[in-house]
Structure formats: C-alpha cells, structure tokens
Symmetry: C2
Subunit: 170 residues, 2 copies
Amino acid sequence: MPKIDINAAPVKTGSIYPEPYNGQMAGRRSQRLGEHAGLTQFGVNIVHLEAGAPASLRHWHLREDEFAMVLTGELVLVEDAGETVMRAGDCAAWQAGVPDAHRFINRSQAPASFLIVGSKAEEEEATYGDVDMKIHISGGKARFTYHDGSDWSGPRDLAASGIAPKGDSK
Amino acid sequence: MPKIDINAAPVKTGSIYPEPYNGQMAGRRSQRLGEHAGLTQFGVNIVHLEAGAPASLRHWHLREDEFAMVLTGELVLVEDAGETVMRAGDCAAWQAGVPDAHRFINRSQAPASFLIVGSKAEEEEATYGDVDMKIHISGGKARFTYHDGSDWSGPRDLAASGIAPKGDSK
C-alpha cells in the first residue's frame, strides 16, 4: 500500500552539525517520508519549525538538486540576495552547484512546515554561507572542514578567515 | 531568486500516449516546476485533474522512484490491491522496479491536484497494468511496445494477449 502513514515515518530532531551550530537548530523536527517508503534515489522529508527555528545553516549543495514547498505557516527563505516570505503552496528549487547559500527560518509566532526533496548523490559536499565550514559526505559518513578544505576544529567566522560573507547572515 | 513563479512554469496538457489512450487523458494539466527551475536530477510537476479525469494509465516504473502529495481536492489512488481515497496532505511513494501499477483518478465532482516527483533515469521503461503496452524511453525519445517487447501497433487488451489483469482496471 504505497499511501504513506506519515505519523509512522522516522522523526529526526536536531542536526549533525558540530556545536555550537547544532544548538542553534532547536525547534526543528523532520519526518523522513521517503526513507520510510523505501525510496533510495531522492530524499523526501517534512520539516516542522517552531516559531523562531531555522531549518539549517545557510548552505548550497555541490551535486544535489533540491526542491521545497511550504506546507503550513509562514517561512522566510534567506539567500545571498536577501529574504523572501513564503506561505503554503509557495515553492523554491536549487540547482546543484549554484553557489547561492539558502535556508528557511521561521520568523513568525506560530509553527510552520515545508516539504523538502533532494537527490542522493554518492559523494556530496555542501558549503555554508555564513560560517567557515563545509560538509563532505562519502559512504554515508560526514566530515566537516573549513572552506579551504582543512579539518574543522572549532567555529571560525568568515571575516576571521578572510572570506567575504554574502547576503543576510541573520 | 529560487522562489518559483508557479504561473510562469510550462503547462502540459494531454499525454504522449498513442490513441485511444491519449483521448482518455482529457481534463489533465501539468505545471512543470522542476524543469522551469532548471532542475535536471528529478522532475517536479503539479498535476491538475478536472472532475472525472485520470492522471495517467495505471503504470509502474522500472528504474525511477516516484513520490506524490495530494495538494487540493480528493483523489483516488488505484493499485493492484484496490483503491485508496486521498486528500490534501496525503502522500504516496513508489519504489522503482516494484511491479504494482498505480495511478490517480479524480472521481469527485470538483477539481483536484497533486505534486509528483520522479527521478530522471537515462533509460527508462514503464509497464501499464490494465492494457498490453509498455513505454521505453531512451535519449529523450519514447517508443511503445506490447508487454512482450514487440512494437505496439494498436490497442490490445490483456485478456486477448493471454496476460491476467490485476486489481481494479476502472
């Protein structure tokens, strides 16, 4: 029966980010629908954000396309060029390899949610736009580095690393 | 600006099916969001069905995972095992290679719509569950055959071909 029992899907809270970034992801919860349904070629999650919660650090993917649709409430999409308010039915998409870091944040006073779909590349790399960090995923394992590829060993902001930050880093 | 202007997305009506099947797809319209946003790794469409309209012939994909979420109205999901009524927020998913032919049909008195996501394999094959036809896609071109792989040259029902139909063929 391919209709998905959404409430039976695994729920993930928090993030795989090292501290202090993991602690900034409070109020975020993700229902892993695609995994629950046995899909392997792309991921499908419903992400729920409490008032004030961000979905992620602002990031862009090297090899994976992404698509999102807001399902409930009001979210703000933050990119290099600024902010866009999005409501139920609004969609956004990001082509792999385009270096425009993005994230959703719930700046409203009520919960909000969105559907997110992303390809599953064997090897993936995502670059964070507001902090000096990258994630490298290979064989299901994640490794964090600075933008220059050296091992991450603690928070370093972009200015201190000599990298000009872009857009809104709120 | 990755927010998608949904009304600017290309709209497709009808199907690529040969007649008489193409004529059975009246009342179907698809907004090609993923293509509009430049995504290449998976397709994302919003399909609108008038009262009575089906989204497709009942089919299953050999190599491509699929995911759907009902957005508005009420749809019926038809599979080998029977029918499931689905409403806004209900989701379904189909793993590549599982031979359970499925389709949505709008049996209600009002329009309905759903979001559909599917991987884009280089070479793809889909088998129709209620009629003796398969589609083979290669290099962006479609070719229709009977289930036995011989060239399709006109409608042939499954019983006449000695294939036992499964499930509900309404």
